[in-house]
Amino acid sequence: MSTIDLRLQAVLDGERDAGDLPADLRETYVRLMAAAELLEAAPRLSVAARVMAEVRQLPAPAPLQNLGPMRRAVRWLSRPRAVTLRLRPVWTLALAAGLAAILLLPLQPPTSKPTPGASEGVANFVGHFPGARSVEVVGSFNNWTPGVLPLNDKHHDGVWHGTAVLPAGQHEYMFVVDGERWVADPLAGRYVDDGFGAGQQNSLLIVRPSTAEP
């Protein structure tokens, strides 16, 4: 594949005037612009009726107090409970105690409150996946190991949730739906490209230490 002259790239980026180009570069310029123009034809399709029909069946997308299926989840977010797991990066455990008991430390009764240490905090995970058979969280806090932090759909309404005590700091993670579909957490608010070239983004979680000043 031949490279394109930087002067032409600058013109195509809108940084220089096309009139400055020598004739041979202008020919390439015209060809690329013609290709782009041909691609501008929009498909003669409309999804408006279909989308509106579906939207009319949904609750109004009002701010948090009226979020429909997410309502309970959001309220749940503000009231951490149901400690599922305590997770630490495998590498710290490996230093301390070998690789064995990494993942299920300690499994507490579902109603007990999380008790994070001074350099830990509680993370709540919520996702809306109607029809999913399983949803789990996989991330840097569990060495990207599937099968460690499953979420529950307690009310069978497609809202999956779980809680974990995590080391304070930054963690990247994704939801894995039905064991195969990797999905960014739509409520994460922070995202970072995963660097594998397909444009997929990891969700970013910042856990505050439980001793942090309010």
Binding site: L77, P116, G189, R190, G195
Partner: protein, 213 residues
């Protein structure tokens, strides 16, 4: 082809490192055999350059869990190495003559990955070289993600630091700006930043992010 060339360039920069590795790799059994030797040698390069290796190990584990093909997996880990190098260089420039803590490198690489412009990262690292830069960099990246001007965002965070806010409290500055933006339609981003600046240091704390026993 280009990837193979990039790997060769990395390895050429650190001859003999592959042989220097000892003991079973943490990645063995998790990472495809086709990618493992190359990734091990990239990690060895990071060791030789005094860069943190944990982000690279995590990247390899992540890619394997996601079933990324070996060539793209190696490319992702190489990309991670490039980010760590860039972060190290940037900190060295921001705070010349000082040792560069690994934690700082990890935080700066994460900020660059989130798209924070390098000059802003440099300015914030230089603001308090002895403090872990993670929270302030995330706060800045949050503001930039919400389309605040990067320079003005950094200015606000530096003001917040001057007025005594430290660590994760700096994240609350970004949250306050975001809330102001949503609550008061019609105000420009600059007006919102000015309003938050007037609130300093009394920005609201987190409500639901921390459970207290």
């Amino acid at each position: 082809m280009r990837l193979r060339l990039a790997v060769m360039l990395v390895l050429a920069a650190a001859p003999g490192l592959l042989a220097a590795q000892s003991g079973p790799s943490r990645l063995q059994g998790r990472v495809a055999p086709a990618a493992l030797p190359t990734i091990d040698s990239i990690i060895a390069v990071a060791v030789a350059e005094s860069l943190p290796t944990e982000p690279l190990v995590q990247k390899a584990l992540e890619g394997s869990a996601k079933k990324i093909p070996p060539d793209r997996l190696v490319s992702g880990v190489l990309h991670g190495l490039a980010q760590l190098r860039e972060a190290h260089a940037l900190i060295s420039q921001a705070v010349p003559g000082q040792p560069v803590p690994e934690g700082h490198v990890v935080s700066v690489a994460a900020a660059l990955a989130r798209g924070l412009p390098p000059p802003i990262v440099q300015r914030l690292v230089a603001m308090a070289p002895a403090e872990p830069p993670g929270p302030v960099l995330h706060a800045a990246a949050d503001l930039v993600a919400h389309h605040f001007d990067p320079d003005s965002a950094a200015g606000l965070l530096i003001d917040a630091h001057t007025k005594g806010l430290r660590g994760v409290r700096l994240l609350d500055v970004a949250t306050a700006a975001d809330h102001e933006l949503q609550r008061r339609g019609g105000r420009t981003h600059a007006e919102v930043l000015a309003h938050v600046r007037d609130m300093l240091p009394n920005v609201p704390g987190p409500k639901a992010t921390v459970a207290r026993p």
